[in-house]
Amino acid sequence: MSVSTTSLKIPGQEAVQKKGWLHAHKWLLLRRFSQILILFVFLLGPIFGIWIVKGNMSSSLTLNVLSLTDPFVFLQSVLSGHVVETTAVVGALIVFAFYAIVGGRVYCSWVCPINIVTDVADWFYRKFNIKSPVHFSKNNRYALLAAILLVTLVSGIMVWELLNPVTMLQRELVFTMGFSWAVVLSIFIVDAFISRRAWCGRFCPMGAFYSLFGKFSLIRVNALNRDACNDCMDCYVVCPEPQVIKPVLKKAGDSNPVILAGNCTNCGRCIDVCSEDVFSLGIRSEKFIV
């Protein structure tokens, strides 16, 4: 492998030349569209008085029929000792089932508005060739998740919801803006200048939670065409969780070509930047893809 890590090389350049700009940004654009569309639907009510969806991403009511509840918030409520009513139980089960099919951390890359901020921060980091001085372990988020669930269980209070930046931003965007923008700015500064991919990749316990059942999800990115890989390393540069790519890019026969790691967010950026079309989106079982 001739690893030429010329740091100022823009990842995906070859893909743009070969496939065209639009094709080389397909999944990125779809993702941004999805994130903004979801936020827009939530904002239709408070801004234009068109109440398709009420509430926020913690729990919502769509068209006065469909009730959805975030499974992570739901879990915290249950652990803190509350007997939750049926509406929220059903809502959490629907959301849980959805992400169990499409990929747990699809929530992170296709829904969560913080992701836009951290993606921009990472773009900043690459663009200006910043070297981050601090490095956290990828397992840090699981320690945080464990602590949150334990403290919630012992104290009977949903501790994390007292400071969860993810639900906070979603809520304040839809209701009234408090100081969550300051928290988001802090996340940006940390991610861009202090510790690369710190929030989504090292701290966010919500992402950690979703990654746990994302392990078993049906829809997965694969590298079925890995023989065509020319070791350009662009996918590693853009991937928010590059450790998930490593096992699937080994020689054919050496490993499963499907990314099974729960932390793959199914964002599809690797598919975009690959000029050789190594990656594609499919289902988890190798047998059914070809």
Binding site: G45, W51, K54, G55, N56, S58, S59, S60, L61, S67, T69, D70, V73, F74, S77, S80, G81, H82, V83, V84, E85, T87, A88, G91, S137, N139, N140, Y142, A143, L144, A146, A147, I148, L150, V151, V154, S155, G156, I157, M158, V159, W160, E161, L162, L163, T167, M168, R171, E172, V174, F175, T176, M177, G178, F179, S180, A182, V183
Partner: protein
């Protein structure tokens, strides 16, 4: 040592290292979160929870901060706390002085709650206990100055049950009445309409969380008259009517007048008030 065992040892060491690091991290986070949770869940007295909240800690474990109650409140009474407010982040509350609860009969906020944080068993808004109105400043309340106000009584949705008017003697003028509002905790829902309507610059009547507003008698206390009623008779030696040893001709007023000297003219019953009940008779007495 064989290289394979060496490798196992190494991987075991790494495993133990990772485990202990993760456990250490979790403990640190746990301590931080535990301490933060205690501080961040204190509720300021002026922030009132929506109907159907029995107690704050149960509420904080049940509310998912979705704001559906806020959306369904027709009077924009409820709002969600933002970062920077001192109410637990994202939870619904209202400030009665700004917009009080209008006590909707169909209780839309409770119906909207998906988790039961607002108790769906609440079907009569009169049973809600959001807080308790307290006439907190008798010095400022103009009714205590002898002025007619009664605004809090008049706006109370449960007037005569939650707030009644009590007539007492005006000590300042000596001849007028004070018409004073009195809140009854068995009926007050804590809707805050009284606080909202109070005509003062700063309300003299305020809705407080019940835990702040209520005292509680020591559980070992037994009130003699209640026990007497329960038993049907006095549990101790029956009371003998109290005999005051008063100077001859004087009487005693329990209501605050104290010792009343004997009237100059004779022929009056000392057990009566010093004044005759009939206004005409009093005029006649004056003429005599």
């Amino acid at each position: 040592m064989k290289p394979s065992t060496d490798k196992t040892l190494q991987s075991r060491r790494r495993f133990l290292e990772n485990i202990s690091r993760a456990a250490g991290g979790a403990v640190l986070y746990g301590i931080g979160l535990g301490l933060y949770s205690r501080q961040a869940t204190s509720l300021p007295a002026q922030s009132i929870r929506p109907p159907g909240v029995a107690n704050e800690s149960d509420f904080l474990s049940a509310c998912v901060r979705c704001g559906l109650c806020v959306r369904d409140c027709p009077y924009d009474t409820l709002k969600l706390s933002n970062l920077g407010d001192d109410v637990a982040l994202g939870t619904p509350y209202f400030d009665a002085r700004k917009i009080p609860c209008e006590m909707c009969e169909d209780i839309p906020c409770v119906k909207a709650c998906p988790t039961g944080a607002l108790d769906s068993a609440l079907d009569n808004i009169d049973d809600a206990r959001m807080g308790l109105a307290v006439l907190i400043d008798q010095e400022a309340c103009i009714a205590f100055q002898g002025l007619r106000c009664e605004v809090c009584f008049n706006v109370c949705p449960l007037a005569n049950k939650a707030i009644s008017l009590n007539r007492t003697h005006n000590q300042r003028t000596g001849k007028h009445a004070l018409i004073v509002p009195v809140v009854h905790s068995d009926a007050c829902t804590g809707c805050g309409k009284c606080e909202h309507a109070c005509i003062l610059e700063e309300a003299a009547i305020k809705v407080l969380p019940t835990r702040l507003a209520k005292g509680e008698l020591g559980h070992h206390y037994r009130l003699g008259w209640q026990e007497k009623q329960k038993a049907g008779e006095s549990l101790v030696t029956p009371d003998t009517p109290h005999q005051y040893n008063l100077p001859e001709g004087t009487s005693y007023d329990y209501e605050g007048e104290g010792l009343i000297p004997a009237p100059k003219n004779n022929g009056r019953n000392f057990n009566d008030t010093p004044f005759n009940k009939s206004a005409i008779d009093r005029l006649n007495e004056g003429i005599k």
